[in-house]
Amino acid sequence: MAASHNALDLYKLDELFSDEERIIRSAVLDWVKERFMPLIEEHYEAGTFPLELVPELAELGVFGATLPEQYGCAGVSHTAYGLINQALEYGDSGLRSFVSVQSGLVMYPIYAFGSEEQRMKWLPELAAGRRIGCFGLTEPNHGSNPGGMETRAMPVDGGYLLNGAKAWITNGCLSDVAVVWAKVGPDSGDQSADSKTIRGFLVEKGMPGFSTAEYKKKLSLRASVTSELYFKDVFVPEANMLPNVQGLKGPLSCLNQARYGIAWGATGAGMYCLEAALRYAGERSQFGRPIAGFQLQQLKLSQMATELLKGQLLCWRLGKLKEAGTVTPAQISIAKRDNVYQARECARMAREIYGAMGIMLESHVMRHSNNLESVLTYEGTHDVHHLILGEAITGLSAFGG
């Protein structure tokens, strides 16, 4: 089946995509609607991720979809990867997070910074969904400022001894492999000098001293597992260090992959909310007429439709820049920040349009709005992205205050 959201494609954006990209989007969207949607309410309530669907996601080919075929991946364009994220987040931000982490934060660094042995060992397994990965950057005391991380890898015979903790790690407890970022060597007391020693380590499930704990009672992204990771004298062999990157640019370049996917993903959540709100507003009558006919409701629907249109155009352009290899972190940052913010506004407006029904899980819109609270915070908070753009256009960094 080809193009899908035709009725709401007000600017004929579909024409911007190739046949193949449109088919990829509809393949994933069909899967999300038929296979994922029937399960989401149950998992959201239980606070679990539908792991039973991982083999189907792998069969679809969404893990590491942009990476080359020789590693078991599909080798799609960045634009197609964006559309995949859009279709996944149409279902749930937790579903998109699962795939983003596996693809952009685990497979990408192994591909970009790993040795050929590391690639061959992990990428086909991760692509096939037989192994799950996570990305450990954030720490209990260092969120927006990852350069201040305290996790340390001390060189020992044949490898490193890892000590520290990582916080808020998506898929942490589910993972067979964690891409963990740590400073190498003792604390010199100079944070900026130390951050140049940051290296990535592939920490495997079952390594002595490595443990995880799950955050329970989240009110957002409930269908995604978030965990703390603890490292107590974990011996990581030399062969498990990513050889080809050093310093903060390692984790930051992963974040650029994932943020790009999030910018697209957010439009998917927004799309779901707009479609749902339009449907509901057309069906629900008050004062003898459909609420869609009231100006106040039309204002909301019109704002939602407009912002979604703009968000998709940002993404489309970003995809082209990425394919041309010229995209900058600040460009990605703009789309991540604004698309997520607008999607959250969309979801909130949809919730309002639904009235009381909007607070129900079965209406899905408040689930989206709750999820987007996390999406607004992770991968660089909304504020931090303003600082990134601020620095890019003024030349002055405001990060230190």
Binding site: A27, D30, A74
Partner: protein, 261 residues
């Protein structure tokens, strides 16, 4: 073994089709592969997976915009496609469509021809049968199970009153019903592979056919008008304190108002 699969495009089953000047207005409608044809495609792909050396080709009568749906079919695992597109085909009868298909299918030398049992647009259910007739080979309809041997077949068709088992020699045309298989989801690797597969395009003249035998004028039937089904009247809830009282009221209404008893 060579398998040809006949596919057509129909308006999306989720599309709301309105009337314009008393005819269905199909402008702006999204076109999809006919759902019954998806079973035919799946059957062909599965057969090819299970019988090494089997090749598959999809044949479609469509238009210049049909490539997307053919890529869809190729993404599911069909090896190559033939698209018959010609403005003169617009408005053709199912028999004329079958003639165009026969001209394209004959040179393929297929042992097995699979098609959906009917299109979900006008529900004629004729094309596959007519194609068999024009090729002068056997046809088995509403197939819910198909076993292929060397030059022979065994097919099961489900009917309201039982199951029909047909055995015969290939080549033959089989029109597929729901239940024959569970069509797979497309996947990204299949879609990427589809890009490299061939779609051969034909016009009526390249198939040696003459345009005068096609289109509305030659159809023999004409769509003179269409009407929306009557709007459903609101239902009525039968009153009564107990189940017995409700039944009594229902019987009374059936007798006195509906006058069906």
């Amino acid at each position: 073994m060579k398998i040809a699969v006949i596919v057509k495009e129909v308006p999306d089953t989720e599309a709301v089709i309105s009337l314009k000047d008393g005819k269905p207005d199909l402008s702006g409608v999204k076109w999809i592969v006919n759902p019954y044809d998806e079973y035919a495609v799946e059957e062909a792909v599965r057969t090819a997976e299970n019988k090494p050396g089997t090749s598959t080709v999809a044949v479609m009568v469509g238009n210049a915009n049909s490539r997307t749906n053919l890529i869809d079919v190729l993404a599911l695992g069909i090896d190559e496609a033939v698209l018959i597109a010609d403005p003169a085909l617009e408005g053709s009868s199912p028999l004329a469509i079958a003639k165009a298909l026969a001209a394209a299918v004959k040179p393929l030398g297929a042992d097995v021809i699979l098609a959906g049992r009917q299109g979900v647009d006008y529900d004629w259910g004729i094309t596959g049968i007519a194609l068999a007739q024009l090729l002068d080979i056997a046809h088995v309809g509403i197939v819910s199970k198909l076993e292929l041997g060397e030059g022979s077949f065994r097919a099961e068709s489900e009917g309201d009153e039982g199951k029909l088992v047909t055995e015969g020699a290939l080549p033959a045309v089989f029109t597929t019903d729901k239940g024959i298989n569970e069509p797979r989801y497309k996947n990204l690797k299949g879609i990427m592979a589809a890009k490299k597969k061939t779609i051969t395009e034909h016009s009526l003249s390249s198939l040696g056919l003459s345009a005068g035998d096609f289109g509305v004028a030659a159809a023999g039937v004409e769509l003179v008008g269409a009407a929306e089904p009557p709007k459903r009247q609101g239902g009525r809830i039968i009153e009564g304190d107990t189940a017995e009282a409700k039944v009594a009221n229902l019987v009374k209404l059936l007798r006195e108002e509906a006058k069906v008893l």
